[in-house]
Every structure is written in C-alpha cells, then in structure tokens.
C-alpha cells in the first residue's frame, strides 16, 4: 500500500472513471484506478466487490462509494460517487433533450444505438454465464430466474424463491463443501 493520495489526484481519478467507463464490467475501471496505484489493497477491493454483489442496489455505484470511503472516508466517498455520475448525467440529459425522434436521422441514431445495446447485452450474458454457470445447479437457478421473469412472476417472488433454493443448495455444511446439491 502506498501513502493515501491527496484529494486532487483522487478526485481526478473518479472523474476520469465517470468519463471513460462504459458497458458492463465497469468495476474493472475502479480496480485499474485504485488497486493498480496501490491506494487500495487488492484484498480489500475484492472483499468490497463481494459485498456489492451480495447486497442489493446499483453495484457499480456502491463499489465506487466504498472505494472513496477507503481512500478518504465519507467525504471522499460522496464526492467521488458524484464525480462518477457527473459526465454521464450531463451526456444523457443532453441526449434526452436534444435527440428528439421526430427527425428521421435522430430516430435512426436511437434505433442503431438500441441495436448495438442488444448486442452488448447478448455479449454480457454470454460472458457472465461462463463465470456464473459453474455447476448444473447454477444452471437450474439461472433458468429458474429467467423463466419466472419471462412468465411475469413479480420480481420479489422470483428473487425470494430462487434465493431460498440457492441458499438451501449451497448451505454451509460441516463436511467439505460439495458442488452439487444432494
């Protein structure tokens, strides 16, 4: 771990992340900015990452907040999170106000962006499935939450039901953990 950075360099990092982080897996930008520089240890970062995955909310925003907190307490967490929001908020507000779909070219632009976003989501789902589907039971959980959502079962039911099944399957046992549910 190196010495804690001053406010200026740290806030510039947060603003840069706000400007350059796109798409899924934005957490990698936080890793690059704060772990590679030695401001946060890898161990602490990964533990914080796990928290943001297990607790609800916008996980990238939550991890950004925790990074700021590690570096400079609550004031840095608030300022850093605000700076990560700033560029995108300005850009999307401008896009929302000025990109009116009445103009055929703007309608084309929005339609094209949607087409690209569908491809991005497909790519994300494929990449995530390589990491998340580590066993047959994980595949069943993924198919269950997919199927229940497509059947328009209320989300709270889907989350509680698949969550309860998963926690039961993967419950800590006294024996060495097994990969498959009994």
């Amino acid at each position: 771990m190196s010495d804690p950075p001053g406010w200026g360099p740290a806030l510039r990092k947060f603003l840069w992340i706000g400007l350059t982080s796109f798409g899924m897996g934005r957490q990698a930008y936080l890793y690059e900015a704060f772990v590679r520089t030695g401001w946060i240890s890898q161990e602490v970062f990964l533990a914080d990452y796990a928290k943001t995955q297990v607790l609800p909310g916008a996980s990238f925003v939550n991890l950004t907040f925790l990074c700021g907190w590690r570096i400079g307490g609550v004031p840095m967490a608030v300022a850093g999170t605000a700076l990560v929001f700033l560029p995108g908020t300005v850009a999307i507000l401008a896009a929302t106000v000025y990109l009116v779909a009445d103009d055929p070219r703007i309608a084309g632009l929005l339609h094209g962006i949607l087409i690209g976003a569908v491809a991005l989501l497909i790519a994300t789902v494929v990449r995530m499935s390589r990491a998340a589907i580590t066993s047959a039971s994980a595949g069943v959980l993924a198919l269950a939450s997919l199927g229940l959502t497509l059947a328009e079962v209320p989300l709270v039911v889907t989350v509680l039901l698949t969550g309860a099944i998963g926690l039961w399957w993967y419950r800590p046992s006294r024996k060495a953990s097994t990969d498959e549910p009994a």
Binding site: M24, T52, P56, A58, F85, L86, G108, L155, G166
Partner: protein, 172 residues
C-alpha cells in the same frame, strides 16, 4: 404515472437489484410500459440504449426514463430512489460486515446470486429487444454487432455508438 408511483417503484427495484441495475429491467418495463402505459415500449428501449451509449453508471437509463414520465423532477426522483437507499444500507452494514463476510453463508449467497442475476439479465434481453422483433435489418445488425464484439474483440460500447452512426447515416 405520478412521481410518487415512480419513486416507490424505483425504491422497490433498487432493493431487488442484485449484481447491477440491469437485473431489474424486465420488471421496470412491465410496470412502466405495460401497467401504467407511461411510455412506449420503444421509448423504454431507447432509454436503455442511451444508458449504454453514455459513460458512467448503467443505471443512468433512469434519467431519460424519469424525464419521459415527470420531466427533470422525474429523472431526479427515479435515479435517487433507486440508488440512494441501498447505498445507505451498505453504509450501515459495512461496520457490522467483518463478522458477516467471515460467515460461510456469505459464500452461499455469492454462489446463489451470480446465476440468479444472470437469469434476470437474460430476461432483460426480451424487454430490450422487443422493438426490433420482426425487423430483419435490425436483427441482422444485432448479429453483425455481436460477431464484431466476440470475433474482432471491439469494445462493446464502441460497437453501440457505431451501430448508432450506421443507422443514422442509413436513415438520412
């Protein structure tokens, strides 16, 4: 759809989001478009697209969504109600966390939530893609863009902007 409805919806979905805000997209669409009719399916999908085409948190799709429903106040209410309460919960729990993180239940939760949020995100695909169903050039565009992401290893957000430009030029 009133600001109160919007705020309560975002509050609820914020607490049901695991592994990122996109996991609740299908439910968001169902309530905003199907139940309240507050915006068209196409506008909803465009809002998502803009969120992916701009930098920063993906949850920023709530800005155009909120603007459509309640102007600038709607954008503020939607984003704040979604992001802030779970963030405060995290702040409260962080101090008690060391004990919890050491428990083996934390590992159980991790193993459960990864495939669950994968399924939710796969379901979001139907939500987002519904405006282009039956639109052959658009589907061809999705196929080409997906190939470009995987085979040419072009950064996905760059592909989003490129398809936007291609369709803008093509529709001029």
């Amino acid at each position: 759809m009133s600001l109160l409805d919007l705020g309560l919806l975002c509050l609820r979905l914020g607490f049901l989001s695991f592994g990122g805000g996109i996991s609740t997209l299908a439910e968001m669409q169902h309530v905003v478009v199907d139940i309240h009719g507050a915006m068209t399916q196409q506008d909803f999908a465009y809002a998502f697209g803009l969120g992916q085409a701009t930098p920063g948190p993906g949850i920023l799709y709530l800005v155009p969504l909120g603007m459509k429903i309640g102007g600038p106040a709607g954008a503020f209410v939607a984003t704040t109600c979604f992001v802030l309460p779970p963030l405060l919960l995290l702040g409260v729990l962080i101090r008690a966390w060391q004990r919890m993180a050491g428990s083996r239940w934390a590992a159980s939760a991790n193993r459960t939530l990864a495939p669950m949020s994968l399924g939710l995100m796969a379901a979001a695909l139907r939500t987002v893609a519904s405006p282009i169903v039956g639109d052959a050039p658009a589907i061809a565009g999705v196929v080409v863009a997906t190939i470009v992401i995987f085979v040419l290893r072009v950064s996905p957000p760059l592909v989003v902007l490129l398809t936007g430009v291609v369709w803008m030029v093509g529709s001029g």
